[in-house]
């Protein structure tokens, strides 16, 4: 078994992996390797041919492939090695990575630091537990997007979309433009989990009804799907009998949330948060396993790729510092907890002595208007920020300066919405 050595190994060449690799290289690490299972870098951006990417990072609207290409170009410029068509099989707690590819066969790579950047996958029908038949024509929105945008096929002609995640909304528009009929977008919650701009541009502009507080209760069809039954739900998200509407359709797209892809992380012994389904990390994005970092959608599901890039850039820098031994060992850890109205704050831990400001990201649990995000240490408020509107479809980000953090005297701080 041939063994190779790498300083910083990055798993995944999507936007997170690319940014982390660029950052590690820019911060002085020469030996950087990115492993990618597909035949080219770019990750999910390759199939996101719509625009709207990069507004925050580049101040312009790019398509997914354009956004990815900027990072790919930069990585090439820096001479970063991206090994495609390579699947990682396992990551061990002592940072050995096994992988296979047709070209290189079975490899074992010993790494000084590993950055997990595997992204996320879509929640399938089975995980939602929709009853009915198991006929053809039921796809996750991303799978349908791949068929249309990368392979040139139309998955269906009369379509119902369950869930109002961004990919589902984007596909509603994409399939309509392609000549299909999108009958409805059905959302079990009283609000959409997608970006507001997508509701407007992808549904409203095409007169596609968004049925909030509704869900799919039955799927009919023997070979290909023939219809779905949609019903209204009560406050407990249970279907109300008597409210059923049947839609004759040949396709059901599911856009019901994303799950960070942490099978490799778990295998390495990384502690996973039950809230984010991603690793528990500190402000350096280091996981519970020393020298293993996580960033992007494998850490927590982001709303904008711009945030994935900035987060991953920070993770790449931290990994490079770790490799160069620039980590302070004697440093108190402060735990960051979700308070009222807050779900999934990342990072979950902060070192008391930090050099830079720390950004805390979270999702509100529901829609809030004219509220304040408040951070408390014991009973003392250490941070307060007014916000006009918070919605679960969009991430909230708080920048905490290092002096605020250094002034914290308790071991726990809590983020609340008031």
């Amino acid at each position: 078994m041939s063994k190779e050595r790498v300083d910083v190994l990055i798993i995944g060449a999507g936007p997170a992996g690319l940014a982390a690799a660029i950052s590690a290289k820019e911060h002085g690490i020469d030996s950087v390797l990115v492993l990618e299972r597909e035949n080219q870098p770019g990750g999910i951006l390759k199939q996101c041919i719509h625009n709207g990417f990069g507004l925050r990072r580049f101040n312009e609207e790019l398509t997914g492939p354009e956004y990815a290409q900027r990072d790919i170009d930069r990585a090439n410029e820096l001479g970063i090695l991206i090994q495609c068509n390579t699947s990682v099989l396992s990551v061990s707690c002592d940072r050995k990575v096994t992988c296979v590819s047709v070209e290189y066969g079975f490899q074992v790579i010993e790494c000084k630091a590993i950055i997990l950047a595997m992204g996320c996958r879509e929640r399938p029908r089975g995980a939602i537990g929709i009853p009915g038949t198991r006929c053809a024509g039921i796809y996750t929105a991303g799978a349908a997007q791949r068929f249309v945008n990368l392979e040139g096929y139309i998955p269906g002609k009369r379509i119902v979309i369950l869930g109002s995640g961004d990919i589902g909304l984007i596909m509603a528009r994409r399939l309509t433009l392609q000549g299909a009929r999108v009958l409805a977008c059905v959302e079990v919650m009283p609000y959409s989990s997608g970006l507001n701009r997508n509701i407007v541009q992808c549904l409203q502009d095409f007169n596609i009804p968004l049925l909030l507080n509704h869900t799919v209760v039955d799927i009919k069809g023997k070979e290909r799907i023939g219809s779905v039954t949609v019903a209204k739900v009560n406050d407990l998200r249970e279907p109300i009998s008597g409210t059923e509407i049947e839609f004759d359709c040949d396709t059901l797209l599911i856009s019901c949330g994303l799950i960070p892809e942490n099978e490799l992380s778990r295998g390495a012994g990384v502690v996973i948060s039950p809230v984010t389904n991603g690793a528990i990390v500190n402000e350096k994005y280091e996981t519970s396993v020393e020298g293993v970092f996580a960033c992007g959608n494998v850490l927590h599901v982001h709303d904008l790729v711009d945030y994935v890039s900035s987060e991953s850039y920070r993770a790449g820098k931290a990994a490079s510092e770790y490799v160069m031994g620039e980590c302070e060992s004697d440093n108190m850890i402060i735990e960051v907890k979700d308070g009222y109205g807050v779900r999934g704050v990342v990072p979950q831990m902060i070192h008391k002595h930090v050099d830079d400001s720390v950004s805390l990201m979270f999702r509100p649990t529901k829609v809030f208007h004219n509220c304040e995000v408040v951070i408390k240490s014991d009973m003392e408020t250490i941070y307060r920020k007014k916000v006009r509107v918070l919605t679960p479809g969009e991430s909230s980000i708080i920048q905490m300066n290092s002096d605020i953090i250094m002034g914290i005297n308790s071991k726990v701080i809590t983020v609340d919405i008031e």
Partner: protein, 489 residues
């Protein structure tokens, strides 16, 4: 005008029973044709059941169910070994939650002893909880059956069918039998497209069993379609149960069970609902809710958050409550194996052996000289150790391309599955042979990749590829052509 085709013997149905018989008969000098209504082997009850090789304590002594269950269970270890199919003797517990239940369990123990089941014993609460810490703490005692085992029922059927095919049995799919009648030579079996003439036939058509029986026999039978719904939970490092756990049985069958599967998932079910349509394999809100409630008797903390799919299967229940096996009265050469519900999977090899012997003696068949012993590839890439994986990639480079990441299925494995003796040309056919698409993402990632490989191997275009035969097409056309067609509307 229908096509016409002739065979010495026709087997109706390519489920576990039909495939077991086909393999047995393939050793003899007789031309055998299998007609299957579905698009693949094992499309009926075979693909959707608990996958348990029952020890044999449940059936009433003296019944065919009891006889074949015990005999079949003994045959499975060597059968699976020779076919290269996984088999695991994980053992089973039937739990008693009250002193009333204890009486039932004692009766089961006695039944099991009369049926000749080995190793049965009643174990008390402490021992039960020691073996299975997640079990209902209200358990009083349990019947422990160490010989109970698990298999993947459709994988067994595929291997049996491939073995039969290697030895000359012809399998025809999408051939639903509409009529069976007598003719001078024997019997005439008609499907939508073809008229088949044969000397002899064996009806092992699952839910169509009684219907086909009634086409030939004056003694009319009535069968009930009993649907069972299941939940399948994701693989975990530590499964909640390492043995099959049954509740005390009731008149509707063995009730909801919780069991590990051969591939390391947890299966929970089945329900028992009598339904009119033998093809209605849908799951229902009520059925799934019922599983959740009933499973709590075994597993109070049962959680369904990591469910990866739910499905249902339909078994055929006869009023006699026993299998019917043998030649139909006053119909020489017309054999049947019907009413095959639980323990049908377990019984199939033993039933096949008996039916085969009867046919061999009747028609004075000779044993073939050259037999091909088909064997599935031993271990899947996903189950290999690192050293084995390294070897696998060296021996076939295409093992270096992982197509299904959840179940770690390689391109080499998918190409091999497509080209098994009975070709796999649909997504579900590939899925059941390789497990690609059976993991937690349920094909979200690999479906389009598998379609490309099927296209390369079979010459089908992507729009011709189905999920599961018939009209279950995955795509509705080429993008530009579709846009052009809507412009014209």
């Amino acid at each position: 005008m229908k096509l016409s085709k002739t065979a010495d013997l026709i087997i109706i149905g390519a489920g576990i029973v039909g495939c077991s018989i086909a393999r047995e008969l393939s050793r003899y000098s007789i031309s055998v044709l299998v007609l299957e209504a579905g698009f693949d082997v094992g499309e009926g009850a075979t693909k959707a059941n608990s996958g348990i090789i029952h020890a044999g304590f449940d059936a009433i002594p003296g019944t065919k169910k009891a006889l074949y269950n015990v005999k079949g269970a003994e045959m499975y270890p060597s059968l699976c070994k020779s076919l290269g199919v996984a088999y695991k003797q994980c053992g089973a517990l039937v739990i008693a939650l009250s002193e009333d239940d204890r009486r039932t369990i004692k009766a089961l123990l006695n039944r099991g002893i009369s049926n000749g089941v080995k190793g049965l014993e009643i174990i008390e609460k402490d021992e039960v909880l020691r073996l299975e810490p997640n079990i209902n703490p209200d358990t009083v005692c349990a019947l422990y059956a160490p010989t109970s085992a698990i298999v993947s029922p459709y994988e067994v059927a595929f291997a049996l069918a491939d073995d039969a095919a290697c030895n000359g049995v012809e399998f025809l799919f999408n051939e639903r039998v509409n009529n069976v009648s007598r003719n001078n030579e024997g019997y005439c079996i008609t499907t939508d497209t073809t008229q088949y003439n044969c000397h002899s036939f064996i009806n092992c058509s699952g839910t169509s069993g009684a219907k086909i029986h009634n086409m030939i026999s004056d003694t009319k039978l009535f069968s009930i379609n009993r649907r069972g719904q299941y939940y399948l939970l994701d693989k975990l490092k530590e499964l909640p149960f390492s043995r099959t756990i049954f509740q005390c049985p009731s008149t509707m069958g063995k009730g909801v069970l919780v069991s590990p599967t051969i591939h390391g998932n947890t299966i929970i079910g089945p329900t028992a609902e009598d339904i009119a349509d033998p093809d209605d394999k849908s799951t229902t809100k009520e059925g799934l809710a019922d599983i959740v409630i009933k499973s709590r008797r075994i597993w109070p903390n049962a959680y369904f958050q990591n469910s990866i799919t739910n499905f249902s299967g339909i078994r055929s229940h006869l009023e006699s409550d026993d299998f019917i096996i043998g030649e139909i009265d006053n119909a020489s050469g017309a054999f049947e194996v019907i009413g095959i519900e639980s323990p049908g999977l377990t019984s199939a090899p033993a039933i096949a052996e008996d039916i085969c012997n009867e046919i061999v003696n009747r028609f004075h068949l000779e044993h073939k000289k050259a037999i091909v012993q088909y064997k599935c590839p031993n271990r899947s890439f996903g189950e290999m150790s690192d050293i084995e994986r390294e070897q696998a990639v060296i021996s076939n480079k295409l093992n270096g391309n992982i197509i299904c990441r959840c179940e770690m299925v390689t391109e080499a494995e998918i190409r091999a599955a497509i080209n098994r003796p009975i070709k796999a040309k649909s997504i579900d056919a590939v899925k059941r042979r390789t497990r690609a698409g059976m993991g937690r993402c349920q094909g979200g990632f690999c479906t389009s990749r598998i379609m490309s490989i099927i296209t390369e191997e079979t010459g089908l275009s992507p729009v011709e590829i189905t999920k599961s035969g018939g009209d279950s097409y995955l795509l509705m056309g080429d993008l530009t052509e579709f846009l052009r067609s809507t412009d014209n509307e």
